[in-house]
């Protein structure tokens, strides 16, 4: 198989799949911004600002996928069948791995905008809570990016077993990042909704949110461990 063909396939998988989550997440934020504007047209400045910040952070996942796609397109000039397999595996890992975080980061943004629609005075507390929630949600994408980068730089010996192990590692990390990404987003969504209703409880809510998100991330860490075992131990 031609290596060039595999880099193009890997890049296509990376950005094609990687754009799904962020696009839906950003749409969800804008949708809730419209709802908030309908309720509080006077606070349009605050609503627009929060919408743009939220969408920019939600974009992170898609930007990681784009970076990896460009790296594959312009840096993927290795040779041999094994290199070709690593390029496809890198594309699978980052492509599927960004779906969850992209969609998940949209959820807290949407509920923060709902909160502003209810009471524009809480905009500062909501912005801080939204940014913390979205930042933690990106963890699973960062794991996927790490595995993808490792797969890209790897140049293993030609072996059938290693080939299966590398594709397996890509599936483990790629699919494994979807669930925790969405789950983290759900935690942050409800925490933001609660801050919108009662901003005086913000400290307590931030703490509970971070504990909840950390526990949700455990499955992601299992996936990372399995992927690293498949890459380095097998």
């Amino acid at each position: 198989m031609d290596v060039m063909m595999c880099t193009v396939l890997g890049a296509g998988l990376a950005i094609g799949l990687g754009a799904i989550g962020s696009a839906i997440g950003e749409g969800y934020i804008a949708m809730n911004a419209m709802g908030a504007l309908g309720r509080q047209p006077g606070a349009s400045q605050k609503i627009l600002r929060l919408m743009i910040i939220g969408q920019a952070i939600t974009e992170t996942a898609a930007i990681f996928a784009l970076v990896m796609a460009l790296v594959l397109l312009f840096g993927g000039n290795g040779e041999g069948t094994m290199k070709a397999v690593t390029y496809i595996a890198a594309g699978i890992a980052i492509g599927f791995g960004t779906i969850g975080s992209g969609f998940g980061a949209g959820l807290p943004g949407g509920s923060a905008l709902k909160g502003i629609g209810r009471n524009p005075q809480n905009s500062d507390a909501l912005t801080v809570q939204m940014i913390i929630g979205q930042a933690v949600t990106q963890t699973s994408t960062i794991f996927a990016l790490t595995v993808s980068m490792i797969l890209f730089t790897l140049s293993p010996e030609l072996s059938y077993l290693k080939m299966a192990a590398l594709i397996g590692a890509a599936f483990a990390m790629g699919f494994g990042a979807i669930g925790p990404g969405i789950g983290d987003g759900i935690v942050a969504k409800n925490a933001n909704e609660a801050v919108g209703k009662s901003p005086q409880n913000m400290g307590l809510l931030t703490r509970t949110m971070i504990i909840g998100q950390a526990i949700t991330e455990t499955t992601d860490i299992y996936s990372l461990v399995v992927a690293l075992i498949l890459i380095f131990v097998v």
Binding site: L158, A165, G168, F175, G179, T208, V226
Partner: protein, 83 residues
């Protein structure tokens, strides 16, 4: 490439299966734990004085939701090291 023997073929498929097992196995627990912690945040927002009880129940609920993720991890480790 040298000829693939039957044993290698099985081992290779087991490695691929280990990846797929852990990958798909992590989707459900991830979303499920998110629901648990999300509702816990909502409950604390409504009744902040009950936060100790809510946090405790949240951690128990998440630990139980996690079990299927641990099954997936165990299965994939068996596929990697035992098969």
């Amino acid at each position: 490439m040298e000829l693939i023997t039957g044993e290698q073929f099985v081992k290779g498929l087991a490695l691929l299966a280990a990846g797929i097992s852990m990958g798909f196995g992590a989707v459900g627990p991830g979303i499920g734990e998110g629901f648990v912690a999300g509702k816990a945040c909502e409950a604390i927002g409504r009744r902040p004085d009950e936060q100790a009880l809510i946090t405790k129940t949240m951690i128990i609920g998440q630990a139980i939701s996690e079990t299927t993720g641990i099954y997936a991890l165990v299965v994939s480790l068996i596929l990697i090291f035992v098969v």
